[in-house]
């Protein structure tokens, strides 16, 4: 929404506020991901190939702060020049309240690549294309109000314009499409925004939080104009309300994380509209330990339970693959540091026991100097042909990231 000229205007106008403390920093980056199994649907051999520069401006004066992070990139796979305001906001901080206005990246909840109470938009394409982790999240143009009375802390996020999650590009990834012959497609975005609230406090040494969300599904559903002879498909974002809670704290030698949320689907409470996701319950149990120096192990169990499963099955048209009532996923992550924490090995694996879907992301990252680092890794997918990861089974890729920071 905020364009490159505006970002530069912000950068140019800031120095005159002489008394402010201003820091400028940024990076230059090369990022390439190439296919290891098969070419893209568009015939190319790369999932990602770009040079990118980021400038970050951080200015503080008294209770005010301005932060702007802007990217310029050149994409070699057809998108050409890309520019993006990653974040750009103003903070005002008072004694027991504060506000943040502008484009901001917000992460709530406790999951590691599993999202129960993180309602904010993601970039799934970035995750699957071997981009640095920070590109997993997309900013929202929002007003965030924080209130911190003695008994608890509260954050309210008001987003006037809904922003969706980015799904992988169909030119680069094989996405399961039950109606692939229909070429006439349109996307309808919600005209309203959304609201998210988080309240948190310490309870007996545990971090406890409650979450509320009222808005829309971040990824679209598809609706054909006619079931028997479809000529047009409309992508739309069904309404969504979420009621969640989380708890995390020390247990034994590690850290235990618990999350639960009820996903209410107001457009299909009865569950008999197959184009709209049914209401759901999501549960997450996570445990992280540090068995040895510079070694960390994390395990998660994540479950999704579909409500009104009978109505869903009854409404599902013939030929559409049914989802299971329960979806059980386990994940594991190993992180190990070497050479005074300048070399990091990490490996993430996820396996869905209900449909066989799996995803692996091993990565090796080395800091050549304090300013230059590089990473090599791979994204390996498999499982059910219409599952989240199974549909990408032939999209396995290996990636390289090199970044110089200044």
């Amino acid at each position: 929404m905020l364009s490159r000229p505006l970002l530069f205007a912000v950068l140019l106008l800031t120095p005159p506020t002489v008394r402010a403390e201003v820091t400028l920093s940024g990076f230059m980056q090369q990022n390439t991901a190439f296919n290891t199994v098969a070419a893209n649907p568009d015939g190319r051999h790369y999932k990602w190939q770009e040079e990118r520069a980021q400038i970050k401006l951080d200015a503080t004066e008294g209770d005010w702060r301005l932060l702007a992070k802007g990217d310029l990139a050149y994409d070699h796979l057809g998108r050409q020049d890309e520019s993006e305001l990653r974040e750009g906001y103003i903070d005002y901080t008072s004694g027991n309240w504060d506000l943040r206005l502008g484009r901001q990246i917000i992460t709530w909840g406790l999951g590691d690549l599993v999202f129960v109470n993180d309602f904010f938009p993601k970039d799934h394409e970035a995750l699957f294309s071997g981009r640095p982790l920070e590109y997993l999240k997309r900013g929202v143009d929002a007003l965030k109000l924080g209130a911190y009375p003695e008994f608890a802390s509260f954050e309210l996020v008001l987003t006037p314009n809904f922003r969706d999650s980015r799904i992988p590009d169909a030119n680069r990834f094989r996405l399961y499409d039950p109606m692939s012959t229909v070429v006439n497609r349109e996307t309808v975005k919600p005209e309203q925004g959304d609201v998210a609230l988080r309240a948190y406090r310490d309870i007996a040494g545990f971090d406890a939080a409650l979450y509320l969300y009222r808005g829309f599904q971040r990824t679209p559903s598809m609706r054909p104009d006619n079931m028997t002879a479809p000529t047009r498909i409309t992508y739309f974002y069904p309404k969504l309300a979420i009621y969640g809670a989380s708890l995390s704290g020390r247990a034994g030698d590690g850290v235990l994380s618990l999350e639960a949320a009820y996903y209410d689907s107001p457009d299909d409470r009865a569950g008999n509209d197959f184009t709209v996701p049914n209401s759901q319950t999501r549960l997450l149990v996570g445990y992280q330990i540090q068995p040895l120096e510079d070694v960390s192990l994390g395990f998660q169990y994540y479950a999704e339970a579909m409500h009104n499963y009978g109505a869903y099955l009854a409404a599902l048209p013939a030929g559409f693959p049914p989802d299971k009532r329960w979806s059980h996923t386990v994940t594991a992550r190993l992180t190990q540091f070497y050479l005074h924490q300048t070399l990091r090995l990490s490996a993430y694996a996820s396996y869905n026991a209900s449909n066989g879907d799996h995803f692996m992301n091993p990565e090796l990252r080395y800091s050549f100097t304090d300013k230059l680092w590089g990473a090599v890794g791979a994204n390996l997918f498999g499982g059910n042909p219409w599952g989240q990861f199974g549909q990408l089974a032939r999209d396995d890729n290996a990636y390289l990231q090199v970044r110089y920071e200044f």
Binding site: S25, I105, L136, D207, Q290, E293
Partner: protein, 262 residues
């Protein structure tokens, strides 16, 4: 008459000190080294230097607040400036003398606060030769402490205390600490492995008075086996700044206040 009393007290003082047990001395030393002031702030620049002389720099603001009495609970807040890939990262420790710390980390890249497992206080602090314990203290009760001898470090008179871990699971065999008789600061520490090989050496390289508190503003930890060492400079050290308790919270982990971290 007055003078007479002072002379008598002065004459008794060395005897009093002699009467300290090793454990009491280590407590005094910890109080002088890790607890002075109600709160503390320093800009810590750590140079990680390998045996070939190659340097890496870790730079952070470190804030500490004592919850109650000396030897009791403490809270630490750290904000990282360098290296560039961890800039703006913050880190919080709630430290309890007799049980494991609580630790939280804010990862700016994904704007996420994570609680992290921390049962291993002997692990490296930000990749340096210092461990978490070296930075924020080791539980006195974990070791048996015996005064071995008295010795000078430079021109300072010191007690040399031998500390041997009570538990068998410790990663070191024993250590010697040279504690300054006058101000109780540890001036040198030598760690030995279970075979009795001296493998790590700490030195307080420069001591200065800040608000009347003798403070080690330059420290080195050297790994004698690898030749790797870390030199830590505690710049702009200050005490009793009136750091609010509320700083040590998720709110400020996500938005570290400039007035404290700069």
């Amino acid at each position: 008459m007055k003078h007479g009393w002072i002379w008598i007290i002065a004459a008794l003082l060395p005897l009093q000190a002699q009467a300290f047990s090793g454990g009491e001395l280590m407590k005094q030393s910890q109080a002088a080294f890790l607890y002075p002031g109600k709160d503390f702030k320093a800009r810590v620049v750590m140079k990680l230097i390998n045996k070939d002389g190659h340097e890496r720099v870790r730079e952070m603001t470190m804030l500490r607040k004592n919850s109650g009495e000396t030897g009791g609970n403490q809270k630490y807040f750290m904000y990282f400036f360098q290296p560039a890939d961890v800039k703006d990262m913050t880190f919080m420790i709630h430290k309890y003398p007799a049980k494991d710390d609580d630790r939280w980390m804010f990862i700016p890249a994904i704007s996420m606060v994570k609680r992290i497992a921390a049962q291993d206080k002997r692990s490296s602090f930000v990749g340096s030769d210092f461990t978490y314990e070296d930075v924020s203290g080791r539980d006195i009760e974990d070791d048996n402490h015996v005064i071995e001898r008295e010795e000078k470090v430079g021109n300072r008179d010191c007690y040399v205390i031998k500390s041997t871990p009570k538990g068998a699971d410790s990663d070191f065999g024993y250590k010697f600490t040279w504690v300054d008789k006058a101000n109780f600061l540890p001036l040198r520490e030598a760690q030995y492995d279970k075979k009795g090989v001296h493998y790590k050496q700490f030195t307080a390289d420069e001591i200065t008075d800040i608000k009347g508190v003798p403070t080690a503003i330059r420290r080195t930890m050297k790994n004698l086996q690898t030749g790797h060492r870390t030199e830590a400079a505690y710049l702009k050290t200050d005490y009793d700044l009136g750091i609010e308790d509320s700083l040590f919270s998720e709110r400020f982990l996500r938005q570290p206040p400039r007035k404290w971290v700069e």
